[in-house]
Symmetry: D2
Subunit: 300 residues, 4 copies
């Protein structure tokens, strides 16, 4: 399929590579969440200001062990809120990555692109008013929920600078964002898992779109073929660009324009020009990337 | 051109209507900014805690008048920061609307859509590596800058709850966000003005895209034609949807499928079906909308 | 009572002046909210993309009138979200001002200050563990809730840049923040109204604190008395500061130090020095400020 | 010194325990920053869409090694922005903890508390208008700067959901927040280090404040002494509270009130009541807490 930068066709890619990038990102989140979880899983029974004035640390140790928590090394009336703020920030980061994936799906489902679609049931209504529609509503829903989680992260950060050995201003915040953020993220992960599992992918459309620009996506290959011949890069750029622009002007396929360019003919043979349009080299390192992301077991 | 909801073709629209919606939005911002400006344009020379202990209010009145400001009715050591927070919020709202417009242009410039493009100079490089590209970089730039302004609005809000008759924590914030936010928004407005003034619009592409779904965009018209004949809405929906889906399955134009549907034939005549595909009714009220937005001078 | 900047005693003030500043601020919020309300109170029945393709504007006008709304001059599938973002921003600004007032009350209730206290019922427990405590928990609660509203404002702003004639990503956000923000702010206003109505104010403590710095709060008066005599400001500052610092060093009352300063004696008479310690001039313009804030009816 | 919750005197604490809580918090930040640094220290030379179409992975590996970076396992046109967002979030968390410490110093320097003060040079002016003042301006400055960093974290999160293989909207954001956030945090850490190194601490004031409530801070000790004798907790609370409230009413020292309470006399002997006022038990576990925070070397 075509890879896109700035929303514009760039160079070929595979759908699997998109997923590899996502998998790699989620793997980072797993580590972030694991660390945040370790740091939030602490308890304290150190008294009203953290001095163990009325109960010795041994009681704290015993109760925390029973609760599956570690004692906070030092505490005030409460466990310090940087621990919570980290957790809410990590949850917001995860939600934001899900928004990124959801945005990609929304793009791929656009009428003009249609390279992938969310699962769409037999009798489902895409739109109550317009019976022809299939809308990426699951992905749009995920996009919105990420905005909530980012707001929560912010509120959680503001909970950190409490007064002295504790003020209770964090409480009204946490009563709301603790359930809201965790439930929303759980829902998002669940929804995304189902969505990605049942995503419809359309290879034929991908191929059509790949060819939509009449071969322009190989412009860099031509540019590099010229510079490899020691041709001046600046002049090479001008040659490639002027042939590329013909496609925008009157639809002339890129290869055809290149073949007819006398300046180009002086540097590159017909075969060398055609070799620039080879798709295979774009996929040559895909397995290697997969091996880096998924581990050697998946490598060829 | 086609109007889109959820990124999916919905019903016809005109490009002018998009602009009317934006103009209307900017008009609201103008009022918001005017009010915020009125409220920030106040001064105070009421002393260290706002009591005029060493200088009478008359001095404040005189100096403010000379500076083009109104005296703040009541002040502490400083003018209260809700005034500033309002201004930064309004600036963030304006930047966010500019992001909305920029996002639209980025969508319209997508390779698969190409209904509009940012100005692109003769010798300009779209991409240093890929000579065929024309990227919507001005709009992407505006999109990013809006994120900064939203961050500033947040910082400005946190500056409001100062201690007693003033603490100076707002100062380090304002020294940075006051120049940064105003300069960035000025730059954004300037850039957007130029961008919209020189935007390339491609009516032919709009027409092509309008027809890309084989007439599906008229599905609601058919649905309403049926219900106007007292046909049960639920059954009408099923009929329209099954004919619409044929286009996705094998590319059969919607009108063709409808003409061949025996259930439909019992309710609507061929002429009535064809009348559903009339583009004109979608444009019938455009002038009225323009008149509402731009005032009666522009009305027909 | 003493006015404070940077948390440090500055110059005398009255408690009423604090309230006047707050009243003035709430008055600004009332205007902001009124405008935001006007702009959100619009409706639209302009169809799937805002063209009135299937229903004329007259229907929209009729229904909006019945619903107490104005028709949005131009709309897409929805009313534009800058209107909502403004409302949530204004609500966050109001909540933030309430946090400012709540922070003041928390400061005034500090053990060392105790100039005011939240209402505290006869049988109420201040702390389950420490029976002697009276905590400003209502104000702390308000402080926290403001953090939530600021998060909501942020999420609402991110809802503005929807795609084309509408995407539905704003929906999951609004379903949560619309009830949460409005209910929280209503609760905050209600709680603050009760709190301020039943606030306990301790004039005796205010007087004690006013005198706590041994007269240092009159240092600016002495400084200005010197400069009014054309005494060099820089040298005047040195004289006043060195006498002021004696209080911090060994507790010598400021007036006593000043009376014993030979340099000062050459410029100011004993009576002139004592006149600098007059409290009345700090209150001389209070009525004028009240008149500016509350209108002429309240003026003397 | 007295420990405070809700701004109200609670139970005794030591100044060292406050610092131990901070040290422990900074230790967590060090780990967070180390991890974020590892994850941001990656590079990529995988081409326009991440496929290595024109250069093999070996080149990337070589260049990254030379630059002290690891190759990103999978990339698009860019390194994924969750890595950056994590870094900015962690920097905001660190800044927020510094705000917490700064807020504590501002509280301790309040005129009524004065248990600690920022360094104040011999000839320094605390206030240009009021020569007697020493304001905690360094701490107020840190408080404000944290607000900026939180805004940056937010902007960085919004940079994550880029389109397809990259859009360039993150660029205008990063050009500003990358230098601004790192420079501001470096400045904050530097300023805080100096501030804490030269902080003036006033043990005599701490002792005075500790005794300011006439012994009320021992209320929990009396409550627990009663319940240890199997006295009903509810009734014990009533007894302790009514004696505590006498101090607020007419200043009667808590111990005196307790000694005169006939109900109390039936349960606790005079010696047992006096034993409740022992300060030592509040400090008994301090060394143990230090050992937990600073390691066994510091343990007794």
């Amino acid at each position: 399929m075509i890879g896109r930068s700035h929303g514009i066709h760039a160079e070929p890619i595979t759908f699997g590579l998109k997923l590899a990038v996502w998998y790699d990102e989620l793997h980072r989140h797993l580590d972030r969440l694991t660390r945040a979880r370790e740091r939030i899983a602490v308890g304290k029974i150190s008294g009203a200001v953290g001095t163990f004035a009325h109960l010795p640390p041994a009681v704290e140790a015993h109760v925390c062990r029973r609760a599956g928590l570690k004692p906070a090394p030092a505490s005030t009336q409460i466990v310090q809120r940087d621990r919570h703020a980290e957790l809410f920030s990590v949850m917001a980061l995860i939600a934001t990555s899900l928004e990124k994936f959801a945005t990609e799906i929304r793009h791929l489902q656009r009428t003009e692109v249609r390279e992938a679609e969310e699962p769409f049931g037999q009798g489902q209504k895409g739109s109550s008013a317009m019976p022809h529609k299939r809308n990426p509503i699951l992905s749009e829903n995920l996009t919105g929920l990420a905005r909530l989680l980012r707001g929560h992260a912010l509120s959680a950060m503001e909970d950190v600078p409490l007064w002295h050995e504790r003020d209770i201003s964090h409480s009204s915040v946490e009563r709301i964002i603790a359930p809201d953020a965790t439930i929303a993220l759980d829902f998002m992960l669940d929804r995304f898992t189902r969505l990605i599992g049942e995503l419809r992918v359309y290879p034929e459309r991908m191929k059509q779109n790949l060819e939509a620009l009449g071969g322009l996506v190989h412009s860099q290959s031509v540019l590099l073929a010229l510079t490899r011949k020691k041709y001046d890069r600046q002049r090479a750029y001008v040659i490639v660009q002027r042939n590329a622009m013909k496609f925008y002007e009157d639809g002339t396929p890129f290869l055809e324009s290149l073949r007819a360019d006398p300046d180009l003919a002086q540097v590159l043979s017909k075969q060398e020009i055609e070799a620039c349009f080879d798709l295979e080299k774009h996929l040559a390192h895909a397995d290697e990337i997969f091996a880096r992301v998924f581990g050697h077991a998946q490598a060829p």
